[in-house]
Subunit: 229 residues, 2 copies
Amino acid sequence: EIALCAANVFDYNLLTGLHVVVTAGPTREAIDPVRYITNQSSGKMGYAIAEAAAEAGARVTLISGPVNLPTPTRVKRIDVVRAEDMYNASMAVVDEGCDVFIATAAVADYRPSVTAEHKIKKSTEEIHLTLVKNPDIVAAVSAHAKRPFTVGFAAETRDVVAYAQAKLDNKKLDMIATNDVSGENVGFNSDNNALTVIWPGGHKVLPLAAKRQIAKQLIELIAIRHKRD
Amino acid sequence: EIALCAANVFDYNLLTGLHVVVTAGPTREAIDPVRYITNQSSGKMGYAIAEAAAEAGARVTLISGPVNLPTPTRVKRIDVVRAEDMYNASMAVVDEGCDVFIATAAVADYRPSVTAEHKIKKSTEEIHLTLVKNPDIVAAVSAHAKRPFTVGFAAETRDVVAYAQAKLDNKKLDMIATNDVSGENVGFNSDNNALTVIWPGGHKVLPLAAKRQIAKQLIELIAIRHKRD
């Protein structure tokens, strides 16, 4: 009933006239044509945020890694696989101009330094793989000349708030949302989530609720903070 | 019309009284609590084979990695994540006794030598990952004292038939099914497949068709070869 109530007061003009970009899902970093490194991101939180932003009146571009989710209504979706593809797609929309960038994607921080052209055979006892850093998308967006209001996500398994606060400062973000993915009832693959949202000088806890509900609350916070900037 | 015809003559008692075990899907090998190595297997071919075996009258156990598929009717499903879990589950059913073992799973050949307890931070420029070999499930089944009729799968991107023939010989399999996963219309994630099925002294090409249809044709071949043994 509380959730229903909160939904009813949701302002459907909060983001009217704004272009909101959301990244979502995992990326896949190929070892060879068959094997890759990825993570457990289902994309559900990012898709819920894209949907809530569209419901709040924004024009929404969703840059998505490989997920099994339908595209929300009135959302333009760009599909990517690798972190480098997501970086390039993100830079292209920020170059064009956007107002808010919400980086929910669980981008692979590292990729294999080389991708084998053919499937690696099982001939050696050990494989030594060198992983190199992928470009940091949200940091690049935040440092861009046409910088939008930039929101990061931090999925951690320990010291959750401390890491998120450090990320907010280091990457000069306007806001960061953080959840503890070590529990079973929140985060990756779950339909529920709980977030702690931090901005310079303040924070708000969004307690456990359906991801759609959490998404609307986050969009409200973003609209308020964006207006003040 | 040919496909329909083949479906119509499918013998619903081909495998009556037999216990058929099918492995399916990918496995996930954890780097840390968030990141893992996996592959593109959707599990569709294995699930279609489990369904066809059940329709042919067999008692079916399906040992499945993480996939987004419903369990076929009258099939007992055991869920696993890592290759070592799939090995242990497979050995348990072969220890108990089964008649046919069909290894369709795209088991990760290698796993990280260590799994980090917490998410690896993005603090170093490079990560050096040592991958060690996973147990070879189909070879272990084929070498088991209570050896069932053992069918392997080979997903290759080149020299497909030569590699499959070598695998048949080296692992002493009764049959191997091989497909070229480099094309877009077959193999991983597609609803269609084309297989070359090889056994000691013979082979049969199953041309491009729906995976359900290919599964029935493979079950027919297995039933014929199993009866002759």
